[in-house]
């Protein structure tokens, strides 16, 4: 398509619309501003509600601010129990998922091609079946084997979601590691196991940490299945949210939302380092 003589075509229109750099900058600014509003303001509303002493229609912000809602919530034993449960279940889920999916991911990454495709398909099917449908059927199963309303019942249900996702990411991470690095370790005298722990795992660590982070958050976030399978004794924070939303106690629900979001946002800031798009995208976009 380049012109043979290298001369610029005389008929280039004066750059307008998207081509004009000034216009582009303005559009990007609009987009950024719009996104900040779209993403930020709804969350801001919740924060405002959590501090709302008096807030009646049609005031845009509360007319009085208070911290009594926080006090009420943090003293409520149901809330404390739900928080403890959520933060107990999430690490257990993450750990178990990691223990199962890291070897599996490594096997997938180094396995023969034809076998791998079949297993890939097998891992994708859980994603295709609607989660809630799965949970409902699972609940029936649980009932028959006595796993309903138990700690481990909830843990295993959480693991359904995290396992597929984490295996996917660990496979991609291990695949991106040059096999020659392992061979060099074995050449230097390391057994296959030693080579894995000395070379492969350290290099894969950022990807695994990202995946674990998301598993942790996914477990904290899990509401629909836990609702079906964990009631009445195992109420996690998101499940408690369901009842709070319908009970119309706006400030209480708002306080709860803020509390539930804090660990996520903390993890977001702590993991800024690992959340470069290469790592995240490596897991999300490739396999």
């Amino acid at each position: 398509m380049a012109l043979a003589t290298g001369a610029r075509p005389m008929s280039v229109p004066y750059a307008w619309g998207l081509s004009h750099p000034g216009m582009r900058r303005m559009l990007i600014r609009l987009l950024a501003g719009g996104l900040v509003v779209f993403v930020g303001v709804p969350l801001l509303t919740l924060v405002l509600w959590s501090f709302a002493g008096e807030w009646f229609w049609p005031a845009v912000v509360p007319t009085q601010f208070t911290t009594r809602w926080y006090q009420a919530v943090l003293e409520n034993p149901r809330v404390i129990d739900a928080m403890i449960l959520s933060f107990t279940i999430a690490p257990v889920v993450t750990l178990l998922t990691a223990l199962i999916s890291i070897p599996a991911g490594y096997a997938f990454a180094r396995l023969n091609v034809p076998f791998r495709r079949v297993l890939l398909l097998l891992f994708l099917i859980p994603n295709a079946f609607p989660r809630i449908g799965l949970y409902v059927s699972l609940a029936v199963l649980y009932y028959q084997v006595g796993l309903i309303d138990t700690f481990w019942g909830v843990v295993f249900l959480h693991m359904i979601g995290t396992l597929v996702y984490m295996t996917w990411i660990t496979t991609a991470t291990f695949r991106s590691i040059n096999p020659a690095l392992e061979e060099a370790a074995r050449d230097a005298g390391a057994s296959p196991v030693r080579a894995f722990f000395a070379v492969v795992l350290p290099i894969a660590m950022p990807g695994i940490i990202v995946a674990s982070l998301f598993s942790f958050l996914a477990s904290l976030d899990e509401a629909q299945g836990t609702l079906v399978v964990g009631t009445p004794h195992f109420i996690t924070m998101p499940v408690l949210m369901y009842t709070l939303i319908s009970s119309f106690e706006r400030p209480i629900a708002a306080v709860f939302s803020v509390l539930l979001t804090i660990p996520s946002l903390l993890l977001l800031f702590a993991a800024q380092r690992y959340l470069q798009s290469e790592y995240v995208a490596a897991g999300l976009g490739r396999i």
């Binding site: 996104l35 097998l122 609607p130 998101p238 959340l275 976009g285």
Partner: protein, 276 residues
Amino acid sequence: MMVLPSLAFLTVFVFIPAITAALESLRVRARDNLGNYSYSFGVQNYINAITDPVVRSDIVFTIVISIVCVALVSVLSYAIALALRFGRGPAVRVLTRVYIIPLFIPSVIASYAMITFLANHGFVDSMLQQLGLPDGTFPRIVFDWKGIVITQVWLSLPFMTVLLTSVLQEISDTLVESARDVGATSWAIFRQIVLPLSLPGAAIGVTFIFLHVLGGFTVPYLLGPNAPQMLGVSMVAYMVNYYDRENASTQAMIIFLLSLVAAVYYVRQQFKREVR
């Protein structure tokens, strides 16, 4: 072997329930005049689902909403990803920080935030009120399909944007520069170079978000109308309220079959890329 534990887990916790659901959907319940139930094998449940106007409208509703969500997320994510890839300046830095936030907000909370934000007499309504909008003219967004769409788009944005960002990363600057060199406008560059090259990767994101919205429960449960309902919500209602396992399973299978179409497409795309 190293894959055994994960396979075992999946078999027990996914395949068995899924197969159970499939079998239950094929269990047809008949009632005779004396009120006795009898069960037989057949596809009657599916036929009922398609012919029953309520269920049928639910099916259509679910599919349409999913498509709308995917379309909107794609447009918005493309805009953000393009800005991140080709833009410069402080606005781009803001975008980088902000778009990832919804990923860290649990869906229950996001739904609730949207309720307070978009409800009648909610935040936006009160803002517009202050600007002079008469009371009562604010459209119904919460407990309406619009609420579902807005919230799902909000939640799916980071995933799609990250995916597109990594896909766009692979398009080298020289490709764009050479197009500019022969006089192409930005729109032409997008349409003829960026879009075709990014489409295979984007299709993967589209597939996943479609599956996710299609089978979703939390968002439509909290924000959706009573009728028509998304299948995820109605399925739970059938199970929990009516104790109708057969019809609940049928609806789950319908979602599954719809999802399979998208999933098969994704898998074939993957194989094509691997062959390449």
